[in-house]
């Protein structure tokens, strides 16, 4: 997977978090995994089609997800209900849209498939790739994983 694909999602995540949450995620680690999976409480799966195909998974703890909702809405929720899940899915969707815009500037034309939101424990997802790149991000509201399983 080319560095520019990872960078597009990294940059888009930074932009959208800064705009919507006043939080700037910083790259902590980049590693290669065999599966697309998460053991964190809240995950949003985006599909990518077009010149790039595959999936991007955003995962975080329940506390981090609820803090995102608190910053946006001013409301402290107790659980990841329909409202919170919908808002998280839309934030990921906006990140995907921004990443697609960045990629299009490099002549890579992609579409983002509407997000699926998963709340709960460990879950693995099928992928069209043999490997997944895991971009671990540090933020003031807790760690966030961005897993990319993309192929040309």
């Amino acid at each position: 997977m080319k560095a520019e694909y990872v960078n597009a999602f990294y940059k888009a995540t930074q932009e959208v978090f800064k705009l919507m949450l006043d939080v700037v995620p910083e790259k902590k680690n980049l590693s290669v995994l065999e599966d697309l999976a998460s053991s964190k409480d809240a995950s949003v799966l985006l599909g990518v089609t077009g010149d790039l195909k595959g999936s991007v998974l955003f995962s975080m703890s329940k506390d981090t997800a609820l803090e995102m909702i608190r910053i946006m809405s001013g409301m402290q929720l107790e659980s990841l209900d329909t409202f919170a899940s919908s808002a998280l899915g839309e934030v990921a969707n906006i990140i995907g849209g921004n990443a697609a815009t960045i990629l299009s500037q490099n002549e890579c034309i992609c579409d983002i498939v509407p997000p699926q939101i998963f709340v709960g424990s460990y879950r693995s997802y099928s992928t069209a790739t043999r490997q997944t790149l895991l971009l671990s991000l540090d933020t003031d509201i807790g760690p966030i994983d961005v897993s990319l399983a993309l192929k040309e």
Binding site: L19, M20, S73, G74, L77, D81, F83, S85, V91
Partner: protein, 138 residues
């Protein structure tokens, strides 16, 4: 509180309408989530929903008139963003009219509406303010 000072564009009429929109959406979210029996809240949710559907049209029209009066160069893209926003609301209104106003779907819509509003006002609209301050007659 949904509204943040950083969302201010710097054009008084626009900011006043944005604050009104944020307050309405904030109340809409609170009503959608407050846990009282759904039948008691449904009328208030419906009323706010239809109000917003009308109010965004009024607000977007006013904003677009301002953009045209100051020769805002990104007007076509901004108009398109408004159309997408309106369609997002209209699609849910169609769904609610066809399938009824369920609590689940209203909460899903509230989550999306909040993020759309933050991104539109926090990012897209800020560019109007920047142009207005620089070239728009201030």
């Amino acid at each position: 509180m949904l509204w943040k000072e950083k969302y201010r564009v710097g054009v008084p009429l626009i900011d006043q309408q944005h604050e009104e929109l944020f307050e309405r959406v904030s109340n809409f979210i609170k009503t959608a989530l407050n846990g009282a029996p759904w039948e008691e809240r449904m009328e208030s949710v419906k009323e706010t929903m239809y109000f917003m559907q009308d109010y965004v049209i009024v607000h977007f029209d006013e904003e677009e008139k301002l953009q045209q009066s100051i020769g805002y160069p990104d007007y076509p893209a901004h108009h398109e963003a408004h159309e997408v926003f309106k369609k997002g609301i209209d699609d849910y209104v169609v769904l609610f009219n066809e399938e009824g106003f369920s609590e689940e779907k209203i909460q899903e819509f509230a989550g999306k509406l909040m993020t759309w509003l933050i991104v539109h006002v926090g990012k897209t609209d800020q560019k109007i303010g920047e142009f207005y301050m620089k070239d728009g007659g201030l």
